[in-house]
Symmetry: C2
Subunit: 393 residues, 2 copies
């Protein structure tokens, strides 16, 4: 994969435990157009606060990211560390520290090992000669079981360009947003307005439409950098080239988001929850989120139990307008319930077959209007409990 | 325990599986003052809809309750069954069916075995000669591991009276309300306004202040009947007798609610979540509920991991006004974090000792105002997943 004008590096800074790379750098040879979305949690990690203030310039040239420590609930000292480390990195790179984004993931409430990070930064910069985006995807993993990457290329007016992204997820995954870091880069030369609009819509349909456990993290970040190094003629909104760019950027975002759900902590199922017929799109999203976050629904998925009644119960308390006599529900194409009641004994056997699959769709029609929503989620397994009971040890 | 003028009966109607009593009756020899609260889920079971309409009279004389089938998502047929069975019971008892409350708990979406219930009703009425309230507490259990009962007696102007209650819970437990049935009876002669006010406040502080898994059921019901059979002089609001009555009724409700949390599905911990210093009581309740419902917080409790950062993260997404630099948190009397940051290494060891206890308190001070709230909750264990993965089998 060739993404022009970007360099990568990852090193072992022993932030949490020795033996794995946990400090990484993405560097653009020239300042890139940048946009980002961050957690809406009111308890925000220091790197989120710092990056949020810096992204206002619309530009970024480097991203410093670590796993093993979230630098959250670390107070003024945490902010001082974020500033100190990005300042040191900026000096080493010979760029303005205002163009350095910073991101952290890991345990909350523990101060960062600032000396180990600072002493690793020169090595990190030297590593830009030989690193790959895959190295970064590996270095940002916490309880993830596989690195998450996606890339697409296209041609704009005869010049090819690439959109590539990486992500980490696993737990604390919830719309708006997740314990989720995602960094997407492109060498395409794109009109800023098109970039921002596509990014915003793409994040809504991807990272803001997934949930693993309903917990929202203090560190969620999705950052996009576009450095124009492909030297294509500028891609504008409302053109065929603009449509192609939007389409592949959204594909990359959605692919990364789905990978996060597939690798949700302890997940054994990937479930697409579709709500139709709601009084509004907002109601549809409320209902879909209630289903996707219900512990009872998710344990039934884990147990491969076609317990559609729990899904109706979740819809009922979601806050969406509901008329129980109009509800219908299908697992894939098997109609389980209609007009609020069971569709018959045959459905039970056929529905159970669907739930034994690794991936399936749950469609609930509220029978009230035209509102729709889609949420991707996983099941709730023994393994989730094990991972999170012992996370810090 | 002597509760004058009430009779009890429970029989085996083989509603779900043979070998246990699953159909029960509480009968008051004369019509009793009655008040009730029901689930706020928009998907409501037929017995809830029927009982809700009947309680408007302010009177009840009998309660028919079954376990093994929720009679929820059963459509018009479910309502017909609720009417038919209560009509038959009323005829056998020689009372108006408008005075018969009905309640069900168990699997959602399966039609009731109406013939088995109807054929069991005569036996149920005969059993009133010899039954006890304890029989009812046993018969309404589903995944409960122990029956839940509480009783208190007092003397009003020289005449003794009793308040006694039973409950079932286990899963789908969430404020406003829970998969939770509770029936409280008293032979006290009480002013209706005092009865209703005390009941409402008592339910808010008990059943509406507990959560096990954040799921709200289709069947929640809390019913109070006061038949006055103790023949005490009427207990009025604003008198010492009124205060005593309020106090013991609220004690009974709170005791039953706490028993539900202690017996939450797979629960190994009983945790009192206290939020103080919120901008308002509403904000305090939002924060306390977010903590008590967080899968990440609850798995940390199960793992006996003093992971206070997850609790701050939950407060941060609760919707309550939060200034992260003012947050403090204690496990029992061990201060874990102050001004938003960790209180020091000594706290970690001492906090871990607290979390190894079976019962402890989590207190979060938001440092903003005078709002307070208290929620009782349990942890999230492997056993919860096992119970709910296989509930219907």
């Amino acid at each position: 994969m060739d993404i022009k004008g970007f360099q990568f590096s990852a090193v072992e800074a022993a932030i949490k435990k020795p033996g794995r790379k946990d400090l990484a750098l993405i560097f653009s040879e020239k300042p890139a157009l940048a946009c980002a979305v961050f957690t809406t949690n009111r308890v925000k990690a220091a790197p989120v606060l710092l990056s949020e203030s810096r992204i206002l310039s619309g530009k970024a040239q480097a991203l410093l990211v670590n796993s093993g420590n979230a630098n959250a609930c670390t107070g003024e000292n945490g902010m001082a560390v974020a500033k100190q480390t990005t300042k040191l990195l900026a000096t080493e790179l010979g760029i303005s520290d205002e163009y350095v984004q910073v991101s952290s993931t890991g345990v909350i409430g523990v101060q960062m090992p600032v000396e180990r990070i600072c002493s690793s930064i020169p090595e990190l910069v030297v590593g830009l000669q030989s690193g790959t985006l895959d190295d970064i995807a590996q270095a940002i993993m916490t309880t993830d079981t596989f690195p998450k990457m996606e890339a697409r290329s296209a041609v704009a007016n005869g010049t090819s360009y690439t959109v590539a992204g990486i992500a980490k997820g696993a737990g604390m995954i919830m719309p708006n947003m997740a314990t989720m870091l995602s960094f997407v880069i492109t060498d395409a030369y794109v009109e800023p307005a098109l970039l921002q609009k596509t990014f915003r819509l793409g994040v809504d349909d991807s990272f803001n439409s997934i949930t693993v456990d309903g917990d929202m993290s203090t560190n969620d970040t999705c950052l996009l950098m576009a450095n124009g190094a492909a030297n294509n003629s500028i891609i504008k909104s409302g053109t065929p080239e603009g449509d192609v760019f939007s389409s592949i950027l959204r594909d990359v975002l959605l692919s990364l988001a789905k990978q996060i759900v597939r690798d949700g902590e302890g997940a054994t199922k990937f479930v697409e929850v579709i709500v139709t017929g709601a009084a509004s799109d907002e109601d549809a999203k409320l209902a879909a989120k209630a289903i996707a976050n219900s512990s009872l629904v998710k344990t039934a998925f884990f147990g491969q139990d076609a317990n559609w009644g729990r899904i109706f119960a979740a819809v009922g308390y979601s806050g969406a307008e509901v008329d129980q006599s109009r509800l219908s529900l299908s697992f894939d194409d098997v109609l389980m319930a209609e007009n609020g009641i069971f569709a018959g004994d045959d459905a039970e056997a056929r529905g159970t077959v669907v739930l034994k699959k690794k991936e399936f769709t749950v469609t609930v029609n509220l029978g009230l209007g035209n509102g729709t929503a889609k949420i991707y989620t996983s099941d709730l397994s023994h393994e989730y409990v094990s991972i999170n009971a012992d996370y810090r040890t």
